[in-house]
Symmetry: C2
Subunit: 318 residues, 2 copies
Amino acid sequence: MERLRAGDARALARAVSMVENREPGSSGLLKALFRHSGRARILGLTGAPGAGKSTLVDHLARHYRAENRTLAIIAVDPTSPYTGGAILGDRIRMQHHFSDAGIYIRSMATRGSLGGLAGTTADVAMVLDASGRDLIMIETVGVGQDEVDIVRLADITIVILVPGMGDDVQSIKAGIMEIADIFVINKSDREGAERVEREIRALQSLATRSDNWTPPIVKTVASEGTGVAELAGAIAAYESFLSTRNLALGRRLQNWRDRLLEMLRAAMLDRARAQMGDGEVERLALEITEHRRDPYSVIEEILNRLQPQSRANSDVPH
Amino acid sequence: MERLRAGDARALARAVSMVENREPGSSGLLKALFRHSGRARILGLTGAPGAGKSTLVDHLARHYRAENRTLAIIAVDPTSPYTGGAILGDRIRMQHHFSDAGIYIRSMATRGSLGGLAGTTADVAMVLDASGRDLIMIETVGVGQDEVDIVRLADITIVILVPGMGDDVQSIKAGIMEIADIFVINKSDREGAERVEREIRALQSLATRSDNWTPPIVKTVASEGTGVAELAGAIAAYESFLSTRNLALGRRLQNWRDRLLEMLRAAMLDRARAQMGDGEVERLALEITEHRRDPYSVIEEILNRLQPQSRANSDVPH
């Protein structure tokens, strides 16, 4: 704890691994660190594979390091057991920033656990926050509900699109467009950048946000560093919008409402699974597969057994 | 129930709506129908937006109707509240099959509920199965965990790729490639079809399936109907493989293992939410946002209150 809070990189790496793997003691660590968190600004960056997220994040990192802010980057990586490994490699990216203790980079794989990735990412971000980093950038491939849940953690959400990747705007997960605070059109020297911009504008014209912020569209060519300063400017403008209107707290409150229920659901499933045991799951699954029982009654029975003091089911056959 | 089982289309539509919207009585309906289900063959078809899924499904539907098999098509549709409506339209598609009572088509939107889409789709498929349809085709955009969960419902999973849509194989959600029983390269008259085929073969060379089935690759041009008969042939070959090796039951058993836990999780969250009430969630979220309490201790307390008879937490601070 002390070494972590003093900025010790090895203690940080150890704590992050503990939390990521849910090792014994990680719960106590999280409880103890929580009160030191809440100071870091969290940026979420999301976009389809090949949109240039990593390059853009690297340029932003250099920009912020030049301002002497300390950083952590969490790259959430949709690893597949089939392809057998991370697509991104910290190793390659670490080489750039190797000698700079002000940047901490961590790749996270999608664990096998159902829906657990967003929760783990949130916990890791909290540890990094508590360790005193000024800025945490979470980058993720914007294609699934996991990704939507992850970018919801962020104070500021940046959606990265590129021209010429099919139906650009439509190919990104529905739900992500809505939560963008800033749009980036990367590789904007390519043909079709104007069309992407028109598509974003068309979407924006269909709905207004409750906070009346109109997400700006920033054009970049990340490979050449073009537009990175403008992006940093757009981020600063939104930060200032958040603070003058005192909206950051409201947004975090909304996140905690959602996350509390998500945490509760995950914890209850863990407990139920522990109490049932694999043998009972197996036996019930077999009975259902063979149509000897129906799954809806089975679930009701399990719930009633786990919580005998709770109310009876309100939804009865009629 | 009786009208539904007799094939009455209006009773079927009413039952599907009840289940989709979780109306009162839907639980009783599901319980009663379950024992009549398990007879239909379920095909899952998935691919990126623009891959030509609907056209291919329509051609397959005609093929099977010519064999006098009754069909249902469930089009799972990533609707966004932002874009304000279904991208697919049953209405347009219904026109083709308007006069044919042997085809039932239903579009399903992604409801706001966290992770509930796969469960609802499974329930709707079960109703269609119990109503006596021979074949149920579920088509979905293969980009998220929801989609992976949905195609897991199927007896046979077909992944549709097209040439020239960027990194074709990489752009599809990791996790979907692994569960393909048959690959389709649609729009295969386009340049790049051979490259897509090579990429699939390269992926296949990295891992073998536990059942030793090598998913065939079928080339189609759905807009012209080319390759549809070959695809139907590949489906029949896999069906025959499943039945001679008696693998279908094992696959359904695996699905039920996963689904039971998912149903339990959803049901427990419902119950927890009902017991806590919005007021308490709000109050706790505020205390956490203001860092007066940590979320990890809050969750433990709620769990202990809900289940006072259960064991104490094994993960204590140290």
